[in-house]
């Protein structure tokens, strides 16, 4: 049709556009380089905070706290464990919800299933579109906003924290799962279809196994993100690492803040190493 290759998008222009939009945004937000220089109070706080970085606390910094509560490290370890617990519970719900939603949102499912005549296909299209819209809505509300909504609707409850993470994560998993199912290699499915295997079995045994390594690797990566989210939920009163972080920082117990930061950092770096190792073994 077109003998000339299509004109490539003007990438230089896109780059220029991004730069100009960035400058416009900075102008509209009133961002000035001078705003990057902290005032006296900010400077003092920054100095105090960063000088505490080299000596993280191993016990409560205030005698008042030490007299009444569990040892600092035990308390912090408990918070870290809760962070992992919330993340793991949320991820398990997300996989349970995200997998069926992802299958329903994929093209392959509807193509491989028995919806062959055109009238049913229209219904299938409608259902698929409905699922996709639902997924987009779940995803487009941030987990912290879900947390705020759930706090308003039912009050502070740990299962609410799990749900707050699980709802948007289910949406994200569903979206990515559906894309992975659609992009999985087709050879096995075609071979099975060729020898007359039922469509459902073709999907389950020909297609899903080919996409499985990608699905698992992505789930491992999302677990790492869920740990971050669970930690941040602490800012809203849930007993995770973020709770320690905001309380100790607010009270100026910076050495405790640093211990919390180092622990969270260690947790996340370990999980990152782990999810990368899994990905490398699963996805060539």
């Amino acid at each position: 049709m077109d003998r000339h290759p299509p004109k490539p998008p003007p990438r230089g222009l896109i780059l220029l556009g991004i730069g100009l939009l960035g400058l416009l945004a900075a102008f509209l937000l009133g961002l000035r380089p001078a705003g990057l220089v902290p005032n006296a109070g900010g400077l003092r706080l920054a100095r105090d905070f960063f000088s505490a970085a080299t000596e993280p606390a191993f016990s409560w910094e205030s005698a008042h706290l030490a007299a009444h509560t569990t040892p600092f490290l035990a308390d912090l370890a408990h918070a870290a464990l809760r962070t992992l617990i919330f993340a793991a519970a949320a991820m398990s719900l997300s996989v349970l919800a995200g997998l069926p939603l992802g299958i329903l949102a994929s093209e392959t499912w509807w193509r491989r299933s028995s919806f062959k005549n055109s009238r049913m296909t229209a219904a299938a299209r409608g259902l698929q579109a409905a699922v996709r819209i639902g997924i987009a809505l779940m995803r487009s509300v941030h987990e912290l906003i879900w947390a705020v909504i759930l706090l308003a609707a039912v009050g502070l409850n740990t299962f609410g924290a799990v749900l707050a993470i699980a709802v948007p994560y289910s949406g994200t998993l569903a979206k990515v799962f559906s894309e992975m199912l659609d992009e999985a290699p087709r050879h096995s499915a075609k071979a099975l279809e060729g020898i007359g295997v039922r469509p459902l079995s073709v999907f389950l045994f020909g297609l899903v196994p080919r996409a499985l390594p990608d699905l698992v690797a992505y789930t491992a990566y999302r677990f790492e993100c869920a740990v971050r989210s669970a930690a941040v939920l602490g800012f809203f009163g849930y007993p995770t690492l973020g709770y320690h972080l905001t309380l100790s920082f607010g009270d100026g117990r910076f050495r405790e803040t640093w211990t919390t930061i180092y622990l969270l950092l260690g947790l996340i770096l370990f999980l990152e190493w782990w999810s990368t190792a899994i990905r490398r073994r699963l996805v060539s």
Partner: protein, 305 residues
């Protein structure tokens, strides 16, 4: 090794046996952790579905969440519309636009930072004999590359929200904390992705330029980066989506974006306003999704693999 008559279906006895051990351990560990999580007693499911929570939920859905002007007069489309318009003009429009501009500013900054870091991350460039496959790497270059990678990892490790929380304390009263936090996190992610893209570029053309006497900087800026640019932009717009979502939330730390207004409405117990503001956020995120999806399709049309 002779090729076996029948290729084995599973790679039993494959040289990388220990790698499968990690998968087994991870699988068992994951199941163990999930089982432990639900049985630890830390997650109070019973409480969530208890009677008083159910009452809270009922009141929330049947009273609090109903737009205020419609609670007494009953539902009318015009009433709903006036309310939505009023909220949009009062705080919604400004907060929504602030959210968008925060995302744009921080992504521009993140992109610029990533462009600067990426050549240092790429081990084909950050070496004594750039773009050539042979020759010593040079201890200085090894460390340059390692440090660049470490910077990327550390920049993205902490959640944006925590970074912004710390920045707010040092630089209160402007949008800088949100922009810096988002730029750091996304810059770290993009820096590594950009670096890996540069590293995986087709090497021979760059080698040719090198043997013709091009300098490291010349080849990087004028050949490697332009060739990698389509891929860079794909990654950039992929992160832009996430960044808009994240920008709504950072307002809860006191930067006047949507999150701030949402938090404000919650503290006034104006849950109807709160949900509407969440709706504005959904609209913005969906628009950003569509935009970046469209741009990515457009880029991919021509982007060479």
């Amino acid at each position: 090794m002779n090729s076996p008559p029948v290729p084995p279906l599973q790679d039993e006895g494959h040289p990388d046996e220990p790698s499968r051990r990690l998968l087994w351990i991870s699988g068992l560990g994951a199941f163990g952790l999930v089982a432990f999580a639900w049985m630890s007693g830390e997650i109070n499911i019973g409480g969530f579905f208890g009677a008083d929570r159910a009452r809270n939920l009922e009141r929330f859905l049947t009273e609090d969440a109903i737009p205020f002007p419609l609670r007494e007069s009953g539902f009318t489309w015009s009433g709903l519309w006036t309310w939505v318009g009023g909220q949009w003009n009062a705080a919604g429009a400004e907060a929504t636009m602030t959210t968008l501009w925060i995302a744009v500013a921080s992504m521009a900054l993140a992109g610029a930072g990533a462009l600067l870091v990426a050549p240092w991350v790429a081990r084909t460039i950050s070496t004594q004999e750039p773009f050539l496959q042979s020759g010593p790497i040079g201890i200085g270059w090894i460390w340059a590359s390692r440090i660049a990678r470490l910077i990327c990892i550390l920049a993205r490790a902490l959640p944006e929200y925590i970074l912004a929380f710390l920045w707010v304390a040092v630089l209160p009263g402007s949008a800088w904390p949100a922009v810096l936090a988002l730029a750091m996190h996304n810059g770290g992610i993009l820096g590594r992705l950009f670096g890996e893209t540069l590293e995986n570029l087709e090497r021979r053309p760059l080698q040719a330029l090198r043997t013709l006497g091009g300098s490291r900087g010349q080849i990087t800026a004028l050949a490697a980066v332009p060739v990698a640019l389509p891929r860079f932009l794909l990654y950039f717009f992929y992160r832009f989506e996430t960044c808009v979502r994240e920008a709504t939330v950072l307002g809860m730390l006191g930067i006047v974006s949507l999150g701030y207004q949402i938090q404000d409405a919650r503290s006034r117990h104006a849950y109807d306003d709160m949900l509407l503001l969440v709706g504005f956020g959904v609209m913005l995120v969906l628009l950003a999704d569509l935009t970046s999806h469209g741009v990515r399709i457009w880029l991919r049309r021509e982007a060479p693999r």
